[in-house]
């Protein structure tokens, strides 16, 4: 065990992945010598050479196109998109290509070895283009897996699982926590399961569901609620696609209430999918409407960031409203 921050945990996972398999590559803008603008790939070029860890030209559609080709060829590419806000130029390569590669070929070709890493999320005074949480865009795309870790331990285990998973995975890294989140992480190899939610705290009155950096926020709100005698069950969804309906539904059967919180704007965000599914699965158990506490339906603003965000106070208020419905 070692103390690591989230970046170190990611760097450590990449190191293990590159050491174990010569065909594993890390690349993206500034990923090579410099180790990435957040330094997630720091030291990898020195260790594994310029052929396996390198800077690419500044073109996201090219990075993912190149990565798709590498994965189809049998290499194991780990492509970095510098900020999730800049993943959209690669949207066609991801949604029309990555996601449909295996299906359209009748399993003759696939890009299952591909992992796309990208820092996402707000709360860092990043304004419109350094704050977005675009997971819902990808969740509507069969063929992709979408994973979001909440802390260093989760990050390492889920990233290693993503790299080894035989399906393309988009791995969203909560950049607000890159240095802020520190914890015990085994130095050895381990994996955490993709597609499984984790019940982080047991509770009885309401289930709270989130992922990534938003976990901190619902945990804080749950503490406030505890002070008022409300017992929250806290769940980390971890995988957005496919997502673990069973764990969430079981929790809601028990508590009778659900609150989902994410950073992205509420309309057509992934909380909508969860609410739609759970009202179907748990209709007779629900004691109040499923609450969504999410970003306001605007681009991500700079100076009104606090007002825009789904913070712990908004979550706390919604918990009370839901429990007292």
């Amino acid at each position: 065990m070692a103390q690591m921050n989230l970046l170190q945990a990611i760097n450590n996972a990449l190191d293990i992945a590159m050491a174990e398999d010569d065909s594993t590559l890390c690349f993206g803008e500034d990923v090579g010598h410099f180790g990435g603008v957040f330094r997630a790939t720091s030291g990898l070029q020195e260790k594994y050479g310029k052929a396996r860890c390198f800077n690419t030209p500044l073109v996201e559609q090219g990075i993912i196109g190149f990565a798709n080709g590498l994965a189809a060829q049998g290499s194991r590419p780990i492509a970095e998109i510098q900020f999730a806000d800049y993943i959209f130029p690669a949207f066609d390569q991801i949604v029309n290509e990555t996601a449909k590669f295996r299906y359209r070929s009748g399993n003759q070709f696939d890009v299952g070895r591909l992992t796309i890493r990208t820092p996402y999320g707000g709360g860092i005074a990043g304004g419109l283009y350094h704050s977005q949480s675009p997971e819902a865009y990808f969740a509507h795309t069969p063929g992709l897996k979408v994973v979001v870790p909440r802390n260093p331990y989760q990050a390492k285990g889920l990233l290693l699982a993503s790299i080894r998973d035989d399906n393309p995975v988009i791995f969203f890294e909560p950049k607000r926590l890159y240095r802020a989140s520190v914890g015990e992480v085994p130095e050895d190899d381990y994996q955490l399961p993709i597609g499984k939610a984790e019940v982080v705290t047991q509770g009885n009155d309401i289930s709270l569901l989130a992922w990534g950096a938003q976990m901190e926020i619902i945990e804080k709100a749950a503490e406030m609620a505890a002070n008022e005698g409300i017992s929250c069950e806290i769940i980390d969804l971890r995988s957005i696609l496919p997502w673990d309906v069973e764990t969430v539904a079981n929790s809601v059967m028990k508590t009778g209430r659900l609150l989902v919180s994410h950073e992205a704007p509420v309309t057509a965000g992934f909380a909508g999918e969860i609410a739609a599914t759970i009202q179907q699965e748990c209709f007779l158990h629900l004691e109040s409407p499923i609450a969504r506490v999410c970003g306001v339906d605007t681009p991500y603003p700079l100076s009104l960031e606090r007002e825009h965000m789904a913070d712990h106070l908004k979550v706390f208020e919604a918990i009370k409203r839901t429990v007292n419905y």
Partner: protein
Amino acid sequence: MNTDIYKEGEVVHSPAFIDGHSVDIPVLKILKQDGTTYPNAELPELNQVEAEKVYKALAFHRVLDERMIAAQRQGRVSFYMTALGEEATTVGGAAALESRDMIMAQYREQGCLIYRGFSLEDFMNQLFSNEKDLGKGRQMPIHYGSNEFNYLTISSPLGTQIPQASGYAYGQKLQGKDAVTLCYFGEGAASEGDFHAGLNMAAVHKAPVIFFCRNNGYAISTPSDEQYVGNGIASRGVGYGMKTIRIDGNDILAVMKAVQLARAHAVEHSEPVLIEAMSYRLGAHSTSDDPSGYRTKEEEAKWAEHDPIARYKSWMLAQEWWDEAQDAELFETLREEILAAVKVAEKIDKPPVEDLVTDVYDDVPKHLQKQLDELKEHIKKYPEAYPFTAGRI
């Protein structure tokens, strides 16, 4: 780390534009339409056995296209795309490669598959999207793919294969495969952002990929002079610092020569090469298209005179590697075989309902299995509404 950020050229003190049109790009021609070669022309490596294989592939291609156009008119197949007039670009390209080389095509490159030996049955099964289709009946006709023959399954979105080819070739190099990737695209697709991404990345990362532009004058109805105003696609090679060559795309010996040369260069220097083959799409864009709305019969007639197959046949005849009797028999046999194969393929069952949910992921995840189970229950209730699958649940 670099310290000189650019190679400083000549220094001038009064301004003058470089004229974009001024690059001179010669075009390589080896074979004349009458089947003779230009004096001093450097021929590709090609012995009689291979030459005959090439000719047979061309013939197969022509007959397949003719038959399938007819089959589409009869409503037997929903859609088709010919490569009429452009067959030399693909058959010649494949013939110049090793079989281990990867081919990533746009959609009009069935010639490569024919040359490599993709079976008539496999063509038909794809066109009829039946349960024997290697692609499991999921894509529209002509979206062939073959792992066995190193031909990546066609994807409709244009240009996407270009940066993929760069990555694929980079992987080949990294793993010491002694193989290249041949990446085809049209002059229309070369306008996509992915073209720019793919060529630049291949050049920077030194990937052994041969970019092969089929410039056939049109992208559906859009003539090439509304697609670009530079000197074709070859002139872009300059910008990527890439070795580039323009060839007569209706001259299969020029195609083979250029691809052989490009392959040797790509392997030896681990560098991409750009080939632009000038040709003409003699047929409609697809069976959904009617070119009379955007071009003249005269233009088509003019280009029909440059038929690449007739040209190569004349050469084969002149070599005495082929004769008219053989030719008549070959075409007759091909017509019969293809017609027979149509009749077989159209009777083969459609894929089973399970194929709806497989291959989305490596395994069928829970939610999809649930959707499949519900679907099967549903189909059982309304078997007549789902005739292709109901019988087999």
